[in-house]
């Protein structure tokens, strides 16, 4: 019997308007989320991540497929029974209640009758408000709070009932950049302290990478790749994931040589790149060569494997971003260089040194 949450071939279709065929919002999702893990569903709008989360919570009924929890099929279980508390993107605080009353809500329902007396509830409310650092705001009304404060109330409200699983639907989406970073640290801390299963939905890849034990990159209703942040970043298994995460460019190439110690790929312009990655691809196969901006460095012509011309340079504060056109129209790449380096002029001929440990190939032809 597996512990944690398992999704089996989950699908969800919405009816189209006026009798036309609807779209498959979730198109066959399989996933295993272990107990106590912090798993993020990452993808652009419309990829199905929120729909999947809502099916796990019970707000949507799957068109087909199962949701299992510790081996038990809970697909038809009512939301009320699941005890998987959700933190909503628009906070969903009850405007007619105070902060304390909002937080206490989950403890005062009929199904919780008799478990806590009034004094215990008050104590717990104080405890959880302190946990999210809102102790002094207990009697305020939601409309008197800032966005970040509201989100923390929503968090306290969800956590106070001590659920095993906490679901997050893009909770930091409406907060400003600085606050978002602060809250991310808070969430990591809470996850570590409380040891619960966190299932998180976001379109922000930096957020996903920073917080998660595992990420499911989703697109068009399907999971493109499921793995640790490092795996997703360094070893994407598809062009989509490679292009979605980080600053990467895919350059077309063919496999010139491949063996147990690595491979060599040849670009359209004839130049070759050596990779330490012994991927199982046949000689002569077409692949996409993933070159991340931070894994390339510029050098004088002749001092690197690839050659090209500087088309543009953008000052990014942390680094300078060079746009380099490869020789012979083989492709375009971006290179990040430290800002204190001797700048390369517009139109200058350059060589590119490729880090063989980091270079990576992804599937077939474009």
């Amino acid at each position: 019997m597996t512990t944690g949450i398992e999704l089996r071939d989950l699908r969800k279709k919405y009816d189209g308007h006026g009798g036309g065929a609807g779209a498959w919002a979730v198109d066959g999702v399989d996933m295993q989320i272990g107990r106590g893990q912090f798993v993020t569903l990452l993808g652009p709008s419309g990829c199905g991540k929120t729909t999947t989360l809502r099916m796990i919570a019970g707000f949507e009924t799957p068109s087909s497929g199962e949701i299992l929890r510790d081996g038990v099929d809970i697909t038809d279980q009512p939301v009320t029974d699941r005890e998987m508390r959700m933190v909503f993107q628009d906070f969903a605080l009850f405007p007619n209640m105070s902060v304390a009353e909002n937080v206490a809500f989950g403890l005062k329902t009929r199904r919780m009758k008799g478990r806590f007396d009034a004094a215990q509830i008050r104590r717990k409310v104080g405890e959880y408000l302190d946990l999210v650092r809102l102790g002094s705001h207990a009697d305020k009304r939601p409309h008197q709070l800032s966005g970040g404060q509201k989100q923390r109330v929503a968090l306290a409200r969800a956590l106070i009932t001590d659920p095993e699983v906490v679901l997050f639907d893009e909770p930091l989406g409406s907060l400003d950049a600085h606050l978002r970073k602060v809250m991310q640290v808070e969430l990591i801390r809470l996850h570590r302290e409380l040891g619960k299963t966190f299932i998180y939905v976001t379109h922000d890849q930096d957020e996903a990478m920073a917080m998660s034990d595992a990420i499911a990159v989703m697109n068009a209703g399907k999971v493109q790749q499921f793995g640790t942040p490092r795996e997703i970043y360094d070893r994407p298994t598809s062009r989509y994931v490679a292009g979605f995460i980080g600053h990467a460019h895919i350059v077309e190439a063919t496999v010139a040589d491949s063996g147990s110690s690595g491979m060599v790929v040849r670009l359209a312009n004839g130049e070759t790149v050596r990779l330490a990655d012994p991927a199982n691809v046949a000689k002569g196969a077409s692949v996409g060569l993933m070159l991340r901006a931070e894994d390339l460095s510029l050098a004088r012509p002749g001092e690197g494997e690839l050659h090209g011309e500087v088309a543009d340079s953008l000052y990014r504060g942390e680094y300078v971003e060079y746009v380099v056109e490869l020789k012979g129209g083989a492709g375009t790449v971006h290179v990040h260089e430290p800002t204190d380096l001797e700048p390369f002029a517009h139109g200058a001929a350059v060589a590119l040194k490729v880090n063989p440990q980091k270079a990576h190939v992804v599937g077939g032809a474009a």
Partner: protein, 266 residues
């Protein structure tokens, strides 16, 4: 800036329209003080006797009470059956939903007389005696769509988040209704109740065929207007206008805090 077009031109036309709206009412008010036995010119002098006669007319006073009674009953019925309808329409899909929606809205486009005819034949078939209660049932049916429309619009505006959060926290259906739904629709519900009561108070078309021995105010006025014997009618009209003005101003200021101004309700 929102304005465009020729401002003086628009303003003068608008003023003319406002004048058009108020002129007849002002005429009535003026003539309610006319010391003449006929409704109309010449204007003889100011008198309050028509008001005195009006206020001592027991038939009119009695029908005012009847109208209040019917109005309250209509409000209770609209809320009791209209609120569940609005919730069901907003939340669920069910076979025949389109038909149900059309049937609910139908009384708005039907002449009140027709609604009255249908119900009258219903009552007569059941050998029910016509009374204030038959009026109440008829008006309730016709005015239910007001409550349904207002509450439905408010529910849509509220969105699902809060009720989803409540259910997610373990609340059952009643708890969601009590802590989330009801507080959220309170202002719309109250507004709908006020509108339903006001319309019921002035309603004559549906009432016309369903009235028994007890008359509502519009029915009493109707017989008064048909006879057109004394200018008591003008006094009655003026008082009705005055009461409407007071109630409207109170109602508008009360709901203003909820951002009612600018929502063109009909």
């Amino acid at each position: 800036m929102r304005a465009f077009g020729n401002r003086p031109f628009v303003i003068s036309l608008a003023s003319a329209v406002l004048l058009f709206l108020y002129a007849p009412l002002i005429v009535i008010v003026i003539f309610s003080f006319n010391d003449s036995d006929y409704t109309g010119l010449p204007f003889n002098g100011v008198t309050l006797r028509w008001y005195a006669e009006l206020l001592s007319d027991s038939k009119i006073l009695g029908s005012i009470w009847n109208s209040v009674y019917v109005g309250l009953g209509v409000v209770v019925l609209s809320v009791t059956f209209g609120l569940p309808a609005a919730i069901a329409l907003e939340r669920y899909e069910f076979p025949g939903k389109g038909l149900f929606r059309r049937i609910v809205m139908l009384p708005i486009v039907l002449p009140g007389i027709i609604t009255g005819v249908a119900l009258l034949s219903f009552y007569l078939t059941l050998h029910l005696r016509l009374s204030l209660h038959t009026i109440m049932l008829g008006q309730g049916t016709a005015l239910m769509c007001i409550t349904i429309t207002e509450v439905f619009a408010r529910l849509q505006q509220m969105g699902k988040s809060q009720s989803e959060a409540a259910v997610n926290l373990g609340a059952n259906e009643w708890e969601v209704f009590r802590h989330v739904t009801l507080p959220g629709i309170k202002s719309s519900l109250f507004g709908a109740m006020l509108i339903a009561f006001s319309i019921s108070f002035d309603e004559i078309a549906v009432t016309f065929l369903l009235t028994g021995r007890e008359n509502t105010l519009p029915m009493t006025l109707w017989s008064l207007l048909r006879r057109e014997v004394t200018p008591e009618v003008n006094a009655a009209s003026t008082l009705i206008i005055a009461v409407s003005v007071i109630l409207i101003v109170i109602g508008m200021y009360a709901s203003r805090g909820k951002g009612a101004a600018g929502n063109g309700a009909h």
